[in-house]
Amino acid sequence: MNARIVKLFAFIGVSFAVLVGFTSYWTVFDANNLKNERVNKRPLFEAQQIKRGRILADDGTVIARSVAKGSGPSLRYVRDYPEGDSYGHPIGYSFVEYGNSEFEAYHNSELIGDENEFSSIIDELRGKKPEGNDLITSIDPTAQQTAFDLLGGQPGAVVAIEPDTGAVKAMVSVPPFNPNDVPTDFSALSADPSRPMFNRSTQGQYPPGSTFKLVTAAAALDSGAITPDETINSPGSIDVQGHPLANDFDQDFGDINVTTALTNSVNTYFAQLGEKIGTGTLEDYMTKFGFNSKPQLDLPDGQMSTSGVFDLENDKLLTGDDPIDVGRLAIGQERLLATPVQMAEVAATIANGGKLMRPQIWDKVKDPDGRTVKTMDPEVQSDVISEETANELTDAMQDVVNEGTGTAAALSGVDVAGKTGTAEVPDKDECGGLPNQAWFVGFAPADDPQIAVAATVECTDGQGGTVAAPIAAGVMQTLLGE
């Protein structure tokens, strides 16, 4: 019997080896899949036990913090947003049941302290629970509040960027939401037809109207298709791709240069200019300005939209190879959609001498002891146009504010450069019969730009020059006054 007993032992040894095999599979080989499994709530619970870092405004105002609930093993942290709906966008929310959104999602690993593996091992040895880092943003609370006040409840968005660093100083989307309400009212907020959880600054795709003429002018001047003094005959109405295209009130401007055309936002001039430079060149410059891909902001890609020409029926981004009516594209029509942050980037590029700085909301990361771990390093996203072209455009944009369509954006004692836009909303019924999308993009001071702004108002019967320009001016004044 002894030989058989040994064989039986061998069989049990093999059975136990199977157990070791399966245990290795779950603990090591398949561990990452299991951790990412949707029904696995452990990573969320673990995150909840870490004291997530705070999010602060540039002046130290606390935007988000973690509040301890319970003690001992049942200790957990719940997110609290002391400023309510003022920073719902772009900060977002972080709750175990609903996950993370916007800035909270993008900077999650820094906020839960994943970045400093080494010190967390030391902390663990000391019996200290890991703590997350604080994130200081570049957002200016006064500017943020001014934008809210000036929008006055009209649905729309305001984005303010520091041209030479890309630092986002204000980002407002109306209607806003209060992240503190997410745990109790998530489904109501999601179902609200006014879409408060939708960040219009980064996700809203609107026809940019005449503000896009800045891109057309930049492409024409920088590519050498025209010189600053070159004139084009701009009658009251012309035929573009077999369809008539007219100026406001069919006004005939005669032979004008690009400055005059921008100052008076002359459609017939820019339609011809667009046909002159062609779809390919315009497309190239659009891409350099940041169109045709997601903004490079520190927000999740899923919560940002691409700007460009869209085939809306197929939800497809069109390229220079697709049949595009370049004449209408040049004046900001032809299925062109842009986000407010994209138009702010256009203004910031011109303000910064033709270099687009990568826009960023974060400014500093500080560890729980208050030491600065990382600081935002301004980075050139792309060299869009020459400094010369930028200066020519700046001059023209100053004329827009001084004597053209954008006079409402003028500030006393500061030269403002800007461009207005009034686009037809794609669907009037969705806007309760109101016809216009009003825009203003610009920067100030014109000779030494400190701040670039894009402001837009959805569904209004006003014009860019009357509705959006004063909002942009107010935000610029606030930021320059400090």
Binding site: I5, F22, S24, T27, R42, F45, S74
Partner: protein, 438 residues
């Protein structure tokens, strides 16, 4: 043979150290300070083990020196894990378990005292078999029977609840060992070949069919796949060792699988268990919750574990379990989550060492009954570990048997120390006879 007893004594030292270190770690986690209480737990445990050791030294001087320390190690491991759960949940599982450990050792001494000549067990084999079957059926009786997760595993008499399958496993092994010792020759001699397969003679097939029937009966009525598997595996192992006919094992397995297949399609509880085993994601918050949480907790463990007392057992801020039945079914998961793959391997290695020593006892034994009894007891012990570890790691469907000596549960502790007593009795006789040159 005081040399082997000295080895036993020496082997107990690391056990006491482990227990002390474990309790100290739980203290450090919870109070951020070390109290001498944890040290006294270790000393207390060592004192009890020492008393048992002295008893073995007097009564069974020749017995295997490693079996008791190995089983004490498993118990100590279980106590530390239970103490760690207590610290988090405010329960008193470790204290209860420690009490059961003491009672288990008393029972151990009683068995050694009264069954020094364990061959008397052979005489009462049918009585023992009947009592065992009765115990197995008890959970289906009205009033005292109780149902857990759809399986009938326990009986409760007033404040005491009991899992009779734990005791029945010993009784059934005694019966099988005795029966096969007597009939093994006949089973081999009378065997016939049919269609290339060797079948046991019909006359002697009857009792074996009864055992198969009992296993099926358990599946249907007790609805306990785990115990059924464990008993049947021990049965087949004994048949194989007794007769040397692998074909009997194959036939037995085929019969078991056929029966299990029919039952899978007819008994809804078994169907659910198997379906959840095959695809736990079909009901992640219901029937699949326990096994999924087991896998997720193991994934958190990785190679080295999250650290002692670091795994999440309840959903933070609530009493809702994240590891349901962490003190019984999922204790292996808890160990894996906190001590990692290495800790898990240590546990499996300990069971393998117990099996090795148990089979060593069987190898040294001189008579058929002793050999078969030691083989059966060892197999049933090892297979119980396989069934529950396999259950939580999804090798087989998850069932409610305990991880021997580690899981919380008085019946399991008592039964396993009776099992240990029998193994040591067999070992003592075998080694004494070897020494005396018989």
């Amino acid at each position: 043979m005081s040399a082997s007893r000295n080895r036993e004594l020496l082997a107990l030292v690391p056990v006491a150290l482990l227990l002390t270190a474990g309790f100290a770690a739980v203290f450090a986690q919870n109070d951020n300070q070390l109290t001498n209480l944890s040290l006294s737990y270790g000393l207390y445990f060592l004192a009890i083990c020492l008393a048992t050791h002295i008893y073995i030294r007097i009564r069974l001087p020749n017995a295997d020196p490693y079996l008791f320390p190995l089983m004490a190690l498993l118990t100590a491991f279980g106590l530390v894990m239970l103490y760690r759960l207590d610290a988090e949940m405010g329960s008193e599982l470790a204290r209860d378990q420690a009490n059961w450990f003491v009672i288990g050792l008393i029972l151990f001494a009683v068995v050694i005292q009264f069954f020094k000549d364990y061959s008397v067990l052979e005489r009462y084999r049918y009585t023992i078999a009947l009592i065992s079957l009765g115990l197995l059926m008890a959970p289906r009786l009205p009033v005292i029977g109780s149902q857990v997760n759809g399986a009938y595993l326990g009986i409760s008499l007033g404040p005491i609840s009991f899992q009779p399958a734990e005791l029945a496993k010993i009784g059934i092994v005694i019966f099988l060992a005795s029966y096969l010792r007597e009939h093994r020759e006949l089973l081999v001699v009378g065997a016939r070949r049919f269609l290339g397969i060797t079948f046991p003679p019909l006359k002697h097939l009857g009792p074996l069919l009864v055992v198969w029937g009992a296993a099926m009966f358990m599946l249907i009525f007790i609805r306990d796949l785990g115990s059924s598997l464990m008993f049947f595996a021990a049965f087949l192992a004994l048949i194989y060792v007794a007769t040397g006919r692998l074909s009997f094992v194959v036939i037995g397995m085929a019969m078991f699988l056929a029966g299990a297949w029919v039952i899978y399609h007819t008994v809804p509880h078994v169907t659910d268990r198997v379906d959840i085993w095959l695809d736990p994601y079909q009901d992640p918050s219901g029937a699949g919750y326990q096994i999924l949480q087991s896998m997720f907790a193991m994934a958190d463990g990785g190679l080295f574990g999250e650290g002692f007392a670091q795994a999440m057992v309840v959903i933070p801020g609530t009493d809702a379990p994240l590891l349901p039945a962490a003190q019984t079914d999922l204790i292996y998961t808890l160990i894996t989550s906190e001590l990692g793959l290495f800790g898990a391997c240590a546990i499996i290695a300990t069971y393998l060492l117990v099996a090795a020593r148990g089979f060593k006892v069987a190898l040294l034994a001189n008579d058929g009954f002793s050999k078969l009894l030691a083989t059966g007891l060892t197999t049933v012990f090892a297979f119980q570990a396989f069934v529950i570890i396999g259950g939580v790691t999804r090798v087989i469907p998850l069932t409610g048997v305990t991880l021997p000596l580690v899981s919380y549960g008085g019946s399991s502790i008592l039964a396993n120390f009776i099992l240990l007593a029998l193994l040591l009795l067999i070992s003592d006789r075998a080694r004494r006879e070897a020494r005396e040159g018989i």
